[in-house]
């Protein structure tokens, strides 16, 4: 907002604002830095211009009496002064800083949004505070980033970053081996050894923060029999799948939630593989072995499922060999599989889940909580009840106990069988210093030195559909945004710990319901504009307020923050919350 090139009309509104929302404003003259030059005669002589802090929404939402259809956790975001923002939440949220660090919480320049959101030009012309800025985007071929000369932090090591893409792991590795790229994402499972054996290359493994599961619709025969499901859980050799089709760093699942996540792994482990006993249980349950049962999966490569067809084929062969059950593989289309399965259409599926943020709720609540979809059929009230309880428990040990009980019940009810936590890896030329992998795919290219070259070429799976990441959901777009934009917090390089970025700190109140964030001073956007608290407010506002004229995005319906923060406002004509797993599409 405090762009030095501000013109007169803006000051008119500015002063009007001061009068109208005076309550939200703190005396600006005392907090504004002396460095900011006066821009017009109106502020001549003053040490700084006055600050008109905005709030979103104008009136704080009463969490005990929310507006109709608003399920969100945000009560109000207030620009207290030029460099202070307060987030008022409805409930304490242990993952709040993780959510602030997420790419969708990137901070945009208010003026840029106002100028470029209406015609959506910001989708292909981003203006961020990050280490890099967009130089060119050759549609279908590559994106080139160049160092942002105004970057507030350490200058990026490589002057230029070229981002290319190929959906084929083989092609990516081929390019790396041929030396035409410096780093590639998602090394093929069977190529780990190739990379490790090549002295010109280095492999960076990614922690397995995901789960592959075999899901049942517990309402559909023959899987509506708990004993049958239990038998299948015992008759699938999970270790064989993990050992043969997954790279190093993967493990056969003992629990649904990966154990790297706090409080995830208490209670019963999934039963060990025992084909004989499993078959006996099926016979006892009167299972019909003469039929062929459908098994639905999609061929999309994910780190929880790096070789979809091979794993599905192996499960098919295990069903036959271990259990005497014939199953037929049915390949579902990418586009319809998730929505169809969320409605409980398929009797048996192969699917997985990767963490958005490292908390148990991001696994258990999403699949088994009250808001979960119908992929596994009718919900289990005993599990739901425990999950509702766990969500509100502040103490770690209490949560551990609760989630332990949930794990016991999952083993008892078997709505699904967790199979594998899949590791993945990036690979780099050996001379790339600072090469790393991030468990959630947020690799920071700015800290990498590509040998003696001044350009780093990175090859990922796919082309981004846009570079306004408020409404992108694909990791390949989010990663590029993270090079161009900053959020208030960020993840430490290669880790999950949140560290301040555009904020110097965000401090929670004692009840955890208010976070006060202090912004770094003098941060400039690459194409003009200086960071202030209103930029933060507007960046969140245009995502969460579906009625805002600046709520445009690339294509409607992919607003990640509506999901992270639980909902949106003014959803007219009902364009809210499309990606939230908690709200399955009505049938």
């Amino acid at each position: 907002m405090t762009r030095p090139s501000g013109r007169l009309p803006r000051f008119a509104t500015l002063f009007a604002g001061v009068v109208l929302v005076a309550a939200a404003c703190t005396p600006a003259a005392s907090t504004a830095p002396t460095g900011a030059p006066p821009t017009t005669g109106q502020t001549q002589g003053a040490s700084a211009e006055p600050f008109d802090g905005t709030s979103f929404p104008q009136t704080a939402i009463d969490c005990s009496n929310r507006p109709k259809d608003y399920t969100g956790q945000i009560s109000q975001i207030v620009a207290v002064d030029r460099l202070t923002v307060e987030f008022h939440l409805c409930d304490a949220d242990v993952s709040f800083l993780s959510k602030l660090a997420f790419a969708s919480s990137e901070i945009q320049d208010s003026d840029w949004l106002k100028a470029h959101a209406p015609d959506k030009s910001y989708v292909r012309n981003p203006n961020g505070t990050g280490p890099y800025m967009l130089k060119e985007w050759v549609e279908g071929d590559h994106v080139t980033l160049e160092a942002n000369p105004n970057y507030w932090g350490d200058a990026p090591k490589a002057k230029t970053v070229v981002i290319r893409w190929s959906t084929e792991a083989a092609s990516r590795l081929q390019e790396l081996q041929a030396g035409t790229v410096d780093g590639i994402d998602n090394v093929g499972t069977d190529d780990f050894a190739t990379v490790q054996g090549d002295s010109n290359l280095q492999l960076k493994e990614r922690e397995a923060l995901n789960v592959l599961y075999l899901g049942f619709n517990v309402d559909q025969a023959p899987w509506n029999n708990e004993k049958v499901r239990e038998a299948v859980a015992m008759g699938i050799d999970r270790a064989r799948i993990a050992a043969n089709f997954y790279p190093a760093g993967s493990e056969a699942a003992k629990y649904f939630t990966p154990c790297a996540i706090p409080a995830a792994c208490g209670g019963s482990e999934w039963p060990a593989f025992d084909a004989g006993k499993a078959k006996q249980m099926l016979t006892d349950a009167g299972f019909d072995f003469s039929k062929t049962y459908n098994f639905h999966y999609r061929t999309k490569v994910r780190s929880y499922l790096p070789s979809p067809t091979e794993v599905a084929t192996d499960i098919q062969s295990q069903f036959k060999d271990n259990l005497g059950i014939n199953i037929k593989l049915v390949v579902e289309k990418d586009d319809t599989f998730l929505s169809d399965s969320s409605l409980g259409k398929f009797p048996m599926i192969l699917l997985g889940w990767g963490a958005d943020y490292p908390d148990v709720t991001d696994f258990l609540d999403i699949f088994f909580g009250t808001g979960a979809d119908k992929a596994f059929g009718t919900h289990f009230p005993d599990i739901e009840q425990l999950l509702t309880q766990g969500k509100t428990q502040p103490s770690v040990s209490d949560r551990e106990a609760t989630y332990g009980k949930v794990n016991d019940l999952l083993v008892q009810h078997v709505p699904m069988i967790p199979l594998v936590h899949g590791g993945s890896a990036t690979a780099w030329k050996a001379d790339v210093q600072g090469a790393h992998s991030s468990p959630i795919g947020s690799e920071y290219l700015a800290v990498m030195t590509p040998g003696d070259r001044d350009q780093l070429v990175w090859m990922q799976n796919s082309e981004p559909s846009g570079l306004y990441c408020g409404d992108e959901t694909d990791g390949d777009a989010l990663r590029i945004c993270e090079q161009i934009f900053d959020s208030l917090y960020t993840y430490e390089v290669g880790g999950l710990k949140t560290i301040p970025s555009l904020a110097t700190s965000c401090d929670p109140s004692t009840d955890g319901k208010v976070y006060t964030c202090h912004l770094k001073d003098g941060v400039k956007f690459a194409q003009g504009g200086t960071l202030d608290a209103n930029d933060v407010v507007l960046s969140f506002q245009v995502q969460i307020d579906a009625g805002d004229p600046l709520h445009t995005g690339n294509l409607p319906g992919q607003w990640y923050n509506q999901y992270l923060f639980g909902g949106c406002l003014n959803a007219e004509p009902a364009t809210c919350d499309p990606i939230a797993p908690a709200s399955p599409a009505p049938s």
Partner: protein
């Protein structure tokens, strides 16, 4: 001749309309709804209703077809459902790549194909002939995707660090950037068809390099095009070689050629002066006919070599049900196709007056 061309053009019009209709119908027959496909996997029905309204999919199909035709008559190909980019822009960025690739593939196929065919006919029934024709027969039998994969393996990995190493994918070495001709020639302020044509040519990187005298860029572009062009050109090459051989043999068996031989003309001169010019007619036709095959092959070639061409874009559009892109691309491609066929027919008629009169 003029009447022939006019008649030929008139015949083309109903075919063109048929194409538009077929493309539209096929687009509507694709199952699944574009909204869920394009807006992410869990888009709610309300979102989809808004989306369908936005793109006009909630209107009656007949009206949609009318809208489409009227937009088309204004040169508006619509906007991509997936990227929201104008289909026209997408064509200008994607089609040049494919045209360029097809050009080099056809160039390779024509030159080498005719050479092999002539050699084979000249030395008919010799070992050279047998080997050449065996290779030609194999050439039409190896699928583009097998050949392409083996090439990529051989030239990018096995021959890595040798003189013969060639890049396995991409159009240019990363970091090599191309200055649009419009920028170079100071045309950035202009819009309209002329600008579109300049941009089109500009996006054929090797032609761009030629026109702006950037030899390094030209070499880099060509190096990247060798493998895909050879893989794509192999089948046409084999076909052209076979046609050249049989056509030349037929001509060489004709009376006037025998007369020429009887005059004591050397066999090489007979082939060069009397055989070749007369044998070229079917060869020209068959070269024209290869254009369609090249485009189909381009889908596979672009997939294997990671090239952002029209084949790949169309494949993506079809599998993701991007109606607007499918319609626009297929329309333009088909028009191009009809034009090529027209040219072939006309040149044929020009060369062989009997056709004009029939």
């Amino acid at each position: 001749m003029t009447t022939y061309i006019i008649r030929r053009l008139l015949v083309t019009i109903p075919v063109l309309f048929g194409i538009i209709l077929v493309v539209f119908i096929v687009g509507r027959l694709l199952p699944g709804d574009p909204c869920h496909i394009l807006l992410g996997e869990r888009a709610s029905n309300a979102v989809c209703a808004a989306f369908n309204h936005d793109f006009g999919y909630d209107r009656p199909v007949l009206q949609q077809f009318g809208d489409y035709l009227s937009a088309l008559s204004h040169g508006d190909l619509g906007r991509s459902l997936r990227t929201n980019l104008p289909v026209g822009d997408l064509l200008i960025s994607r089609l040049p790549m494919t045209v360029e690739l097809s050009f080099y593939a056809l160039l390779f196929a024509t030159i080498v194909g005719i050479l092999l065919g002539v050699l084979s006919a000249y030395r008919r029934n010799s070992a050279v002939d047998v080997v050449t024709m065996a290779i030609a027969n194999l050439g039409v039998s190896i699928p583009v995707f097998v050949l392409g994969l083996l090439f990529a393996f051989l030239f990018a990995i096995v021959l890595k660090d040798t003189f013969f190493a060639l890049p396995p994918a991409g159009r240019l070495t990363a970091g090599v950037s191309v200055v649009p001709l419009a920028e170079r020639w100071g045309l950035t302020g202009y819009a309209g068809p002329v600008r579109a044509i300049v941009d089109f040519v500009s996006n054929m990187y090797t032609f761009n390099a030629l026109l702006s005298f950037q030899w390094g860029l030209l070499a880099d572009g060509l190096r990247h095009l060798i493998l895909p062009a050879v893989a794509l050109g192999t089948i046409p090459l084999a076909i052209i070689a076979r046609i050249t051989r049989s056509s030349l043999l037929e001509v060489l068996g004709l009376d006037y050629v025998r007369t020429a031989r009887a005059k004591g003309l050397a066999e090489s001169a007979v082939v060069r002066k009397h055989g070749l010019p007369n044998a070229m007619l079917p060869v020209v036709t068959i070269i024209g006919l290869q254009v369609g095959g090249l485009l189909a092959g381009a889908v596979l070639t672009e997939t294997i070599f990671g090239l952002a061409g029209v084949g790949r874009a169309l494949y993506d559009a079809i599998t993701s049900h991007d109606f607007a892109v499918i319609q626009g691309f297929v329309f333009v491609i088909s028009v191009g196709f009809l034009l090529v066929n027209l040219l072939v027919d006309i040149s044929y008629a020009y060369l062989d007056p009997r056709i004009r009169l029939s």
